[in-house]
């Protein structure tokens, strides 16, 4: 909590009718959120001081001619406040701005998506809003650093200047599957998100065939994406056999990185394999 230099709100309750900014009410333009300040009202007797804004409301009995102190942490929500001193049936008025404290204390960090394929350019976005100790958006420009790191792929970093309290960035997903750490940092405050990178679509397919009685046993090599990551189990691989005028297809999911199927053995048949938009090799069965 910051304790600022007490600021004197000097006001004179002189019985003058209220006006937009009475000459008898001297109020500093602004204070820092949470700073201590005090109010001194010239005159005799007592009055009531009101500090009103959407963010906070304060009402205090004040002794005219003496100082009323507001300790640190009393007025802490940034914003514009209207001030009235009411005494002896008349009021003086003024205004006061409360500014966010400059030191970041909290970050709202949104990272999207939480799961994506490897090797996507600008596939990951991060947005950060920076707040002070009291939850005020710090609108003065400051640097926010974003870092996306993967134990196998090093780190990408971006330094971004906030505008009106917000900063954003885009990052490429790395070529390695796994769990990335995505961190936003402002001053000594940081916020971490986890981004799961999953393998992409198969990059190439290769199958082998061997006889199994009156069947052909088809097995793919381990299926990998274009970055060399094993494609996720469950990905569908399609085997197609063309024989004379007949066509047979079998869809099977990858299990432990490979797909296997048995198809009828027809002499002269052509067997092909595909997954998604990737077409693998063809085998002509001559046995």
């Amino acid at each position: 909590m910051r304790v600022g230099i007490p600021i004197i709100l000097a006001c004179v309750a002189s019985g003058i009718a209220s006006s937009a900014q009475s000459a008898n009410l001297k109020i500093p333009g602004s204070i820092e959120a949470g700073s201590a300040f005090s109010v001194r009202c010239d005159g005799n007797g007592s009055g009531t001081l009101y500090i009103a804004g959407p963010g906070q409301f304060i009402k205090r009995d004040v002794q005219l001619g003496s100082e009323t102190s507001f300790p640190a942490g009393t007025l802490y929500n940034a914003g514009h406040y209207s001030v009235w001193l009411e005494a002896a049936g008349s009021s003086n008025t003024g205004s006061l701005d409360v500014l966010p404290a400059p030191k970041p204390s909290d970050l709202t960090f949104i990272a999207k998506p939480s799961r994506l394929q490897v090797a996507l350019r600008n596939g990951i976005t991060g947005t950060a809003y920076v707040f002070d100790h009291y939850g005020n958006l710090i609108t003065e420009p400051m640097e926010v650093s974003f870092e996306l790191s993967n134990p196998r792929a090093g780190a990408q970093t971006r330094a971004v200047q906030t505008r009106n309290g917000a900063a954003w960035t885009e990052m490429d997903s790395t070529s390695h599957e796994g769990q990335d750490q995505f961190v936003a940092r402002a001053g000594e405050v940081s916020s971490k998100r986890v981004v799961f990178q999953v393998p992409g679509e198969p990059c190439s397919l290769k199958m082998n065939a061997k006889a199994a009685g009156d069947k052909i046993q088809l097995v793919t090599d381990p299926v990998r994406d274009c970055s060399g990551n094993a494609v996720a189990d469950g990905t569908i691989v399609t085997f197609t056999e063309l024989s004379n005028d007949s066509k047979s297809t079998v869809d099977v999911p990858l299990k432990k990185g490979v797909a296997s199927a048995e198809m009828p053995a027809h002499r002269g048949a052509t067997v092909s394999v595909a997954s998604g938009v990737v077409l693998g090799n063809q085998i002509r069965w001559e046995q």
Binding site: S18, G29, A52, G53, F57, H80, T93, K112, W168
Partner: protein
């Protein structure tokens, strides 16, 4: 790092509503230069601005009647918490405040890449009246600039950050 793309609200609308109904604020929505890579559709921008303007009515009613539940439709997160705390302070002191927004000059500043927040600046003119146990203490005509962050909820954009900024 910033890609600036220009978003122009097709209708740079100056709604002279004041001419139609004296209690309605005049609203001007300026063309926006968005900071961010995401395109903001006109329909989305209009919805966010309309929801924000409606939030002023909710806030005004809530602070006038000291009823925090009136904030529920339009506010969320810290904006709602701070306004609710203000209402609690007013209520404890027997005070109510009446906000009447007279004009809004709005510019959309930022649409976050993932689409979960819209930030706008609003130079607003409003009248504020203060009543202590129904005794009028005074009134002020105020002009200030608000920085507002809205987030999408089930059916509308709600105000998450609502903070006046020194001009």
């Amino acid at each position: 790092m910033t890609l600036s793309n220009t978003f122009v609200l097709v209708s740079t609308v100056v709604m002279a509503l004041s001419a139609v109904a004296a209690d309605q604020p005049s609203v001007r929505v300026e063309p926006s230069r968005l900071d961010g890579p995401r395109q903001l559709q006109e329909q989305t921008a209009k919805a966010a601005v309309n929801n924000y303007l409606e939030s002023w009515r909710s806030m005004s009613d809530a602070l006038d009647q000291n009823r925090p539940e009136l904030l529920d439709r339009d506010f969320i997160g810290s904006a709602k918490e701070k306004l609710a705390a203000t209402i609690k302070e007013q209520k404890e002191n027997g005070v109510r405040t009446v906000y009447r927004d007279r004009s809004h000059d709005i510019r959309i500043l930022f649409y976050s890449p993932e689409g979960l927040s819209i930030q706008l600046a609003d130079t607003v003119v409003y009248d504020l009246q203060l009543f202590d146990h129904d005794k009028a203490i005074g009134s002020q005509n105020v002009q200030t600039r608000y920085i507002v962050v809205l987030t999408p909820t089930e059916v509308r954009w709600r105000v998450r950050i609502f903070q006046a900024q020194t001009q």
